[in-house]
Amino acid sequence: MRTVNRIATLLLAVALLTGGALLAIGALLAAAGRPGPLVHRWYATLTTIRWQDAPVRAVAAGVTLLGVVMLVAQLRRWQPVRLRLAEQDGWHLHRRSVERRLARAARAVPSVRRARVRVRRHGDTWRPRVTATGDPAARGDVEFALRQELDRLAAPRPGPIEVRLVPARRAT
């Protein structure tokens, strides 16, 4: 969501910059008696279409829905950037770096190729979830590799590790 917000802000900035410049140019052209065809079309539409017309109501409903979706997305709890190591000592690990380290550990297991790890924290335990491509029989090895890596990272009491191994499709 943080990345989405940043990209959306950049798009909004570009829209404001372009829209503001076009508005200023359009106003000056209209004052000079040379309104562009776009202004003519917009003027005709805006002075004829009424609030109770179906297209206006549809756009209004869409805007409301978009606003509600955005509001929910902003107000819901976001996944924290950091994972707390212990209760009171103030140490945290960067979540993304932990997930990448664990994914690398999973990929180091023979027969496992692609691996993606998500770590959630429930109280004092970390619950990694691995989605990987490889032999389903390697589930135990993957779990062992992850436990070793979590141990190296001094993770607090790793909880159950969820491993989902999808067999690789054979090349035809």
Binding site: R2, N5, R6, A8, T9, L10, L12, A13, V14, L16, L17, G19, G20, A21, L22, L23, A24, G26, A27, L28, A30, A31, Y43, L46, T47, T48, I49, R50, W51, Q52, D53, V56, R57, V59, A60, A61, G62, V63, T64, L65, L66, G67, V68, M70, L71, Q74, L75, G90, W91, H92, L93, H94, S97, V98, R100, R101, R104, R152, L153, A154
Partner: protein
Amino acid sequence: MSNAAHRLLWTVLALLLVAAGGAASAVGLGWLPGGGAPLLGAGPVTWWRAGAPWSVLAVAVGGVLLALLGQRLLTAGLRVPGRLAGTLTHPGDGGGRTRVASEVLTGALERDLLRAPGVHRARVLLTGPVARPDVWVEVRLDPAAGLGVARAEVDAAVRRFAATLGCRPAHLDVTAVVDEAEARH
């Protein structure tokens, strides 16, 4: 812009969208008066014609202001967040307090942290009163570095720093970023 600033911006915009869309829906559905009127009523058109050339100038200035707002937002959005400069405070004898720039102190602690094995980047921020500062540390660790050793070294560096400065940190917050690169065997 920080993540919090982006989040606040989009929360406010979402609220505006809900308010505008809800009001327009209410008018369109007949819950509020004016459903039969065109979107651009006679009022604004009359204002535009009667107010010329000032109405034109007002709209043009509005457009320029919007463009400037967009330019400022674009600059802020593209700016890479720089170093945060923490400020320590020292209460005075009277009602005032002295603000103490902390760059020299943070620089010293960062250099000490970089001497720890496995730590190849360190950022420190100090805030709060000089005697009981809040210490915010971010360290980047080599993939081969053991976290236990790094923790002990960082904690020792902070203790040395506190002893040198003659302070007692009120709060220590450390974020470790473990690099992904292959471990060198």
